[in-house]
């Protein structure tokens, strides 16, 4: 009976095309679109792949709480996403469609950037450890040894050791080394909504050389950011909710891994217990680890950073900054900001407060100019925030409003 229900819902999810002679999977982002929304014109928002000159970036439109200051720190890097910092201070930045990895060098009064490598398939994942830069594209894992001193170093190809599955959708990656020195790598569901094949919808960790792979969490649709709690060392991760279930849900998630092997609900159970309309299962939310907080419908929650610096006021200690790149699958746009999230270490009483806004100018007309994507904490306690739309990095600092 359950099997029949799943088969029936799969038929529905794939547009009933199985009944015809040729199976026709709809585009991954289109799956699960109900007949009632067939005429919807919602589509993924266009990125910008040309350089935006510094003078055309309206940094003065960004709003932050009193005492904080935002400045344009670097620009001219189309598609800039996650950042990883080398031992000597260089910042490495991944991208998706444009296929590049950038390196930014800070000269104090100004920054310069260069392309480390290009022509890769969505090299979104960058991490730095043991003197090496790690880059993970959808179909490639590269390691650049000693790159901060040797800009021309040829990468070591480690692809074979990581056994990357072949589907592309939701398999552009955020990666990071944990306190256990292991490399954490997500494998998103290759669809909007489907029964994911067994290699997908999970977070794995590997030793730095690609050995010792473990699956840490399953039922994870598409995580594009995570960080470790400064006190407990537990991993907290963002996860994008499914599309085509209406403007108001299911909401994106902020999750916490209190033990290896947790199941986070996809594709049966979303947000704080929203049962899926396409992939049905009895007791859909049974055994599911529910999120610490819901982060807004279609908000596209990206980078997470626990704040451990001393520059910001004390109340920000150990709270999270989370970038929400902004929604496409929603008639009234939402997100396009950085929020601050406070929660107890056990994930209770989470509270989400807007922190950095002003990128979204008209939610009803989808008028926006920037899309905050990732956050990096500098040694002085300031934060760097990438804007994937304009290929820029903003620096957020705090001076208590003392200086003019």
């Amino acid at each position: 009976m359950i099997r029949t229900a799943i088969t029936a819902s799969l038929l529905l999810a794939f547009g009933g095309a199985q009944a015809q002679d040729k199976p026709k999977p709809p585009p991954a982002w289109h799956q699960g679109k109900p007949a009632a929304m067939a005429d919807s014109k919602l589509a993924p928002l266009a990125g910008k792949m040309t350089e935006t000159p510094a003078g055309e970036i309206p940094v003065d439109k960004i709003k932050v709480p009193k005492g904080f200051k935002v400045e344009l720190w670097a620009s001219g890097m189309p598609g800039a996403r996650a950042m990883a910092q080398g031992d000597k201070g260089k910042i490495y930045i991944g991208t998706r469609t444009i296929g590049r990895v950038y390196e930014v060098t800070d000269h104090g009064d100004k920054r310069t950037s260069r392309v480390v490598i290009d022509k890769l398939t969505q090299p979104a994942g960058v991490a730095y450890a043991n003197g090496s830069l790690y880059v993970i594209a959808i179909d490639k894992v590269l390691r650049f040894d000693g790159i901060e001193d040797k800009p021309e170093v040829q990468p070591v190809d480690m692809t074979d050791k990581f056994a990357l599955p072949k589907e592309q959708h939701h398999n552009w990656k955020y990666i990071a080394f944990g306190p256990d020195k292991k490399l954490y790598v997500p494998f998103g569901a290759p669809c909007n909504i489907c029964e994911p094949p067994k290699e997908y919808a999970q977070i794995r960790r590997y030793n730095a050389d690609g050995s010792g792979m473990e699956v840490l969490a399953t039922g994870v649709r598409n995580t594009q950011g995570f960080d470790w709690h400064p006190k407990t060392g537990e991993l907290w991760f963002t996860d994008h909710g499914r599309d085509w279930m209406g403007d108001n849900g299911p909401e994106d998630e902020l999750n916490r891994i209190d033990k290896a092997g947790n199941f986070y609900g996809y594709p049966y159970c979303h947000a704080k217990g929203v049962v899926d309309i396409d992939i049905k299962k009895k007791d859909a939310c049974k055994g599911v680890t529910l999120p610490v907080a819901t982060m807004g419908p279609h908000a596209a929650v990206m980078g997470v950073k626990f704040y451990t610096g001393t520059m910001f006021p004390k109340e920000y200690q150990n709270t999270m900054f989370i970038a929400r790149k902004g929604s496409w699958n929603r008639t009234v746009k939402l997100g396009f900001d950085v929020v601050n999230v406070r929660a107890s270490a056990d994930g209770k009483s989470a509270k989400v407060t807007p922190f950095m806004t002003g990128f979204l100018e008209d939610p009803k007309e989808a008028k926006f100019w920037g899309r905050p994507a990732y956050i990096h904490q500098m040694k002085d306690g300031s934060l760097l925030v990438t804007d994937e739309q304009l290929g820029a990095i903003y620096r957020v600092s705090y001076d208590g409003g003392k200086k003019k």
Partner: protein, 190 residues
């Protein structure tokens, strides 16, 4: 003497570089016109019309071709080393030109079949119901029929990569005869 003030030099240099960039763009446009038509409407079989294409689509295509991530060998050669500034200028130029359908002989039956295939596959979701395209999604109305058919077959056979896999997946399993009807229909829209 006032000419020596740094601010004035800045203005002078900016004006100088803008005029150099314009000259470069004009040179390049002559080259483009050889195949894509002086008004951006291609007279050459298999070569797409660019007139009236969305600016973002043109920019993305030019960047990705320069980067070696898509496009034909010929286009990759032609765009080697082109700057983002030039790409922005070229895209703005072609986006403003008026599209003009190259195919006028209508096969009524094929046209109606194409209309039905487009409606059934909801091409208008992204390309809009009049197929004028928007943002990163190209204009299909009035595009050359031979180019449209070849582009769609190439997507189906994984010979053509886009910014992502959306088009290949969208065209998966559509019979060849329907693709030809689609191309016939779209090429004749204004």
């Amino acid at each position: 003497m006032r000419l020596l003030q740094p601010r004035r030099w800045g203005i002078f240099l900016t004006a100088f570089f803008i005029s150099v960039a314009q000259a470069q763009t004009e040179e390049r446009l002559k080259l483009c016109a050889g195949c894509h038509g002086t008004d951006g409407n291609s007279p050459i079989a298999g070569t797409p019309s660019l007139a009236g294409q969305p600016r973002v689509f043109l920019e993305n295509y030019l960047v990705l071709t320069r980067e070696g991530l898509r496009g034909t060998d010929v286009m990759r050669q032609l765009l080697k080393g082109i700057t983002d500034r030039e790409i922005v200028a070229l895209a703005a130029h072609y986006a403003k030109l008026a599209p003009r359908a190259q195919s006028i002989d209508v096969d009524r039956k094929l046209f109606e079949r194409g209309r039905a295939v487009a409606a059934k596959n909801r091409c208008g979701t992204c390309h809009l119901t009049d197929y004028r395209g928007r943002e990163q999604m190209p204009r299909l109305a009035g595009q050359r029929e031979d180019f449209l058919a070849e582009a769609m077959f190439a997507y189906q056979q994984n010979r053509r990569a886009g910014g992502d896999t959306i088009m290949a997946a969208s065209l998966y399993g559509i019979p060849s005869a329907d693709i030809r009807a689609l191309a016939h229909y779209l090429a004749r829209l204004r």
